[in-house]
Symmetry: none
Subunit: 413 residues, 2 copies
């Protein structure tokens, strides 16, 4: 049995909020009954954290990169590469990757259903029809994801990612011609030209595909075109193991977070009852974390529920998730190995009133042996501002964890 | 009527101070009666702000640039371009601009009066005598400002701004020969050569000018030379509208602040009773702000009075300005549109004991719907350090405001 220090970084997606009138001008965290999370705050050291920088509205992907220590301004050019990695594709440096929809178009290329009737089966066969194509010397790699979703990789030297979308982003619009955003950017112009051909080829290959003939026979919209968007270039970045010397795993509920984790070389641990919805079984996720600590040094976990409550302006859903998180924290405090440092925070605020990610900072607590516990004994957006941590940035978080673990190299003599 | 969120950023110039013995070891903010400003603190979220960086003594111009989100280390090479813009000159990228004095020299180029008897009229005619010159292929653009002041632009490709001054900065000194600070910097060497010729030409053109003949007849010192200083290069920077997507206006009292605002493309709103002195009518300025909100999203306002009190070591003048600011805040809270975010801060501290700008941080409060109000209920240098905002930098301020307004693009997914 190893006796090395371990770490769990638990990110409650979209947990932060603003004051809500119907909650008596308090936040969901402030009104929730969460004795175990508050014990974490009492025994730990608290602060407020800007996932990217003060006032910057973060996405979940950019925030996770930042919190894992990777500057998103350097390593994030678009969502595509993370989406592709999240469904198990190997994104290589210089690849241009896209997230895609199977959609329905009529013969004049007007999009009539962006999600192709929310197709649930047969996309593997449709994907096989386009995967492996070569267009103007560029290799096409395509993989289906869940429902109408998929991801595309274009692989060739000298491609750029700074292009406009072909997806009109609304039904009734015609498929757009992709162009380089900067006409002088020839690398992106080449990508745009290939994408325009790919979209047309996808229609030619899919419109008469047996899967779609069967859908037509059943009165369902055909998935007869593929619309890529969110182009990004596969960045040259070191893995989490290379960067920190820690064997890392990820327990998450969404492809987006698994994509980021896979990107930095973390082992992805699937929990069948982690649904990505409000019904997710967080105790099963906690058990998976504890199991993963047996042969990993660092486990990242993302719990999605609070974010859903924020996006839906449903404070009660957020509160319910916090109560479930509290049980999860109780399980972790009782079951992680002795020298484990536990950090609880969020990747961004999703205030109910805003119904989207805001740039408000998020609370953070570091807990474990020797931590300089402060006078904060409640974990919420306002209580933690009196904590010992002060106001930090996402890119500070893993450095603080690794120095608590004492696994960090000294800089200097 | 629009129902878009709006913002007012009110900067009380030089507001911050240190503890003063004669005030019972309190600061002017701490002893002032200011119920409305304190209500802002009670309902808002407070913190401490370093206009540029911790401990850095900021100028008003560099601080305003920073607070508007423009890194002054990148965008500020000298005061000249902002002074020129402030009096309505169009400073273009690559221009070298200077602030200038009309001065008095004797025939051996000894400066006998740096302000030419504080000349009040006729400088427009003197300016016309040098405006439009061409020296070694460099175009000379000159405009008079108030009293003995003016601004100069040198326009040609390949000029540099890193030169020494010709102004001896004291009376009885001879006019100096400008040189490039780095002899290898040929672009600046060219500028220095042109400036040396310009100073000599200004004497040749002005010494016998009718305006000066009349001054001599009246026993007044002639304005017979122009001494440029504060060389800076016109930077390549995006406008406030381009950077944030907000239509912005500025209500300020001094050319320096209007210059910065004009530089970033803000509409300059003149308030005749905004004198730049202690007698300024702040309610008229508040009315101008409210009017400007009708067709702008963001209004920057600078009130000068507190800074004057600091420079003059006059705590009472500072207190009097704070009391007037309090009435101004009351007017704004009562009259701004419903979804307006109001931010009150300073561009730097001007402690009475120092009689100049110091590097002490300044208090800041963010106020508006949904702001995470904290336990701070007094707005002063020490009370705000217990606030929820913590310690931020000037470059964070507008990001925080735009995220509260929810007008910021999300970075990532």
């Amino acid at each position: 049995m190893e006796n090395k220090p371990k770490a769990v970084l638990l990110i409650a997606d979209g947990l932060g909020d603003r004051t809500i009138k119907s909650l008596g001008d308090k936040t969901p965290l402030e009104v929730s009954v969460k004795p175990n999370i508050d014990r974490l705050a009492t025994d730990g050291e608290c602060g407020i954290m800007d996932p990217i920088a003060a006032g910057v509205r973060a996405g979940s992907d950019t925030a996770h990169l930042s919190i894992l220590g990777y500057d998103p301004y350097r390593y994030y050019t678009g969502r595509g590469p993370y989406e592709a990695a999240g469904i198990g594709m190997d994104v290589m440096q210089g690849d241009i990757a896209f997230r895609c929809n199977f959609s329905t178009v009529d013969s004049d290329m007007t999009v009539t259903d962006r999600r192709a009737g929310r197709i649930v089966s047969g996309t593997d066969q449709l994907a096989a029809a386009v995967d492996g194509l070569e267009i103007d010397g560029v290799k096409v790699i395509f993989k289906e994801s869940v429902a109408h979703r998929g991801a595309l990789i274009l692989r060739a030297p000298g491609l750029g990612a700074d292009i406009t979308d072909t997806d009109p982003h609304h039904e009734g619009g015609k498929i757009l011609t992709s162009t380089a955003k900067d006409p002088a950017d020839l690398a992106s112009a080449k990508t745009a030209a290939v994408i325009n051909k790919f979209v047309r080829m996808s229609y030619d290959l899919l419109d008469s595909h047996p899967v779609n003939k069967e859908r037509a026979a059943n009165g369902l919209n055909p998935a007869n075109v593929i619309l890529p968007r969110g182009a990004g270039i596969g960045p040259d970045m070191s893995s989490f193991l290379e960067k920190y010397g820690l064997r890392a795993a990820c327990v998450a509920e969404t492809g987006l977070i698994n994509g980021v984790a896979k990107y930095v070389g973390m082992k992805i641990i699937e929990v069948p009852t982690a649904t990505g919805g409000l019904d997710s079984n967080l105790i099963d996720m906690a058990k998976a974390i504890v199991d993963a600590l047996a042969d990993h040094d660092f486990v990242l976990c993302n719990v999605k529920g609070a974010d859903l409550g924020g996006h839906d302006n449903n404070p009660q859903a957020k509160i319910d998730t916090i109560v479930k998180l509290d049980e999860m924290i109780a399980y972790l405090m009782a079951n992680v190995p002795p020298k484990t440092y536990l950090t609880l925070t969020a990747d961004h605020s999703t205030p109910c009133a805003v119904m989207d990610h805001s740039g408000d900072p998020v609370p953070i607590v570091f807990w474990g042996e020797g931590v300089r516990s402060d006078r904060v004994n409640k974990f919420d957006e306002r209580s933690v501002t009196a904590g010992g941590v002060g106001r930090i940035k996402g890119t500070d978080v893993v450095n603080i964890i690794t120095q608590l673990m004492f696994v960090q190299e000294k800089f200097g003599a």
